[in-house]
Symmetry: C2
Subunit: 216 residues, 2 copies
């Protein structure tokens, strides 16, 4: 994590910090919900939630934007770890798609605030914020691309434009995931089924396109 480090680590003089960056991030997360987006958080509000004076936030973050970026980076890391674990567990292509989608939706269902942010706010906010979201999505796409190529090697199926395939899957799943946030939980199972089918469409498509390209 970049940004202003806790001063105690850099310069061991002075008063020890009694609150940490993490405490402030946790306070911000508490305030977020289906009807509160990161860009509507105010500095004073976060400070209030964290139980500190408004201006104390400046000791840890240049401004709220820097806090927002920290939230996004955290969210990306968290999600990639979860999906990475789901990937390890799966073996066949079918179970990878199903397994990862299940893990994704499970995290959604558990009201993971970090994931909500990542899904919901990629298109609004400051440039720094949008870039941070884009960066995390790119990480994600890249891991997915490697995984698709690995599976294609094992199954000896072709793979047309792996990078583009990974991008399509990622963007589609995130877009569908975002709609889930406003859905009642009972609909999640149905939505999961839809997402799995959509992803299969894309994968079947690339395989078929690779095939017809080869036979040309």
């Amino acid at each position: 994590m970049s940004g202003i480090p806790d001063s105690v680590q850099v310069n061991p003089q002075g008063r020890k910090p009694v609150i940490s960056r993490e405490d402030i991030i946790a306070a911000a997360l508490k305030l977020l919900g289906p009807n509160r987006s990161v860009s509507t958080l105010s500095l004073r509000e976060v400070a209030r939630e964290a139980g500190i004076a408004p201006n104390s936030i400046y000791r840890h973050f240049r401004d709220l934007d820097e806090l927002a970026v920290a939230l996004i980076d955290l969210a990306g890391q968290s999600l990639r770890q979860i999906i990475g674990e789901a990937r390890q567990r799966a073996t066949s292509e079918e179970s990878v798609v199903q397994g990862c989608t299940d893990a994704f939706m499970e995290q959604l269902r558990a009201d993971d605030r970090l994931l909500h942010i990542l899904l919901r706010e990629g298109t609004v906010g400051s440039d720094a914020f949008k870039k941070a979201v884009e960066r995390q999505l790119n990480f994600f796409e890249d891991e997915l691309r490697l995984d698709l190529m690995r599976l294609a090697r094992i199954k000896k199926t072709g793979l047309y434009e792996p990078a583009l395939t990974a991008k399509a899957i990622t963007r589609l799943v995130f877009a569908m995931g975002a709609t889930a946030l406003d859905l009642p939980k009972e609909k999640y199972a149905e939505l999961t089924g839809q997402i799995v089918l959509m992803v299969r469409m894309i994968i079947t498509g690339t395989q078929t396109m690779a095939l017809s390209q080869k036979t040309k």
Copy 2:
């Protein structure tokens, strides 16, 4: 368009309105841009841009939320018309995908503010606002579904889950379109190519899946 109608239409008494709902909507649109989203507009700001007193807005809209919903409805109508025209012009499936994507990207390139809103802000804002976006997307999906079914009939190809296919395409294209808003215009051609390929993946996928279902 629902909402409070211009009173002159309902009750022909009193002073004639010198500004209209449309004037206020136009003022709001002027204020929007890559770094201004609908939810950050203030009532006073819109009034200033429209050249009226802040409280005059209340004569036309209950609150800014109602204005935002009006913007979304307009945006949806506008986009559906553009895509509808592109659809009319095309005949083969390949040219429909290419033609509609071109029309879509052309509109983006022309900095159509309405389209920006639709792409960018589907996941933030008030419930009413999010519902309005969802409603427009559903209209769009439905028209696409009918078109896919029409093409499948002509070409005698199968079509696996037309509604789901339409949804996948719509959501993916909108998600990719949203990323375009932060891209320099030189990259638009490349992005258009990517989108066309992605849509082909999905269509190829559904056709292949329909085929393998039939032969079972």
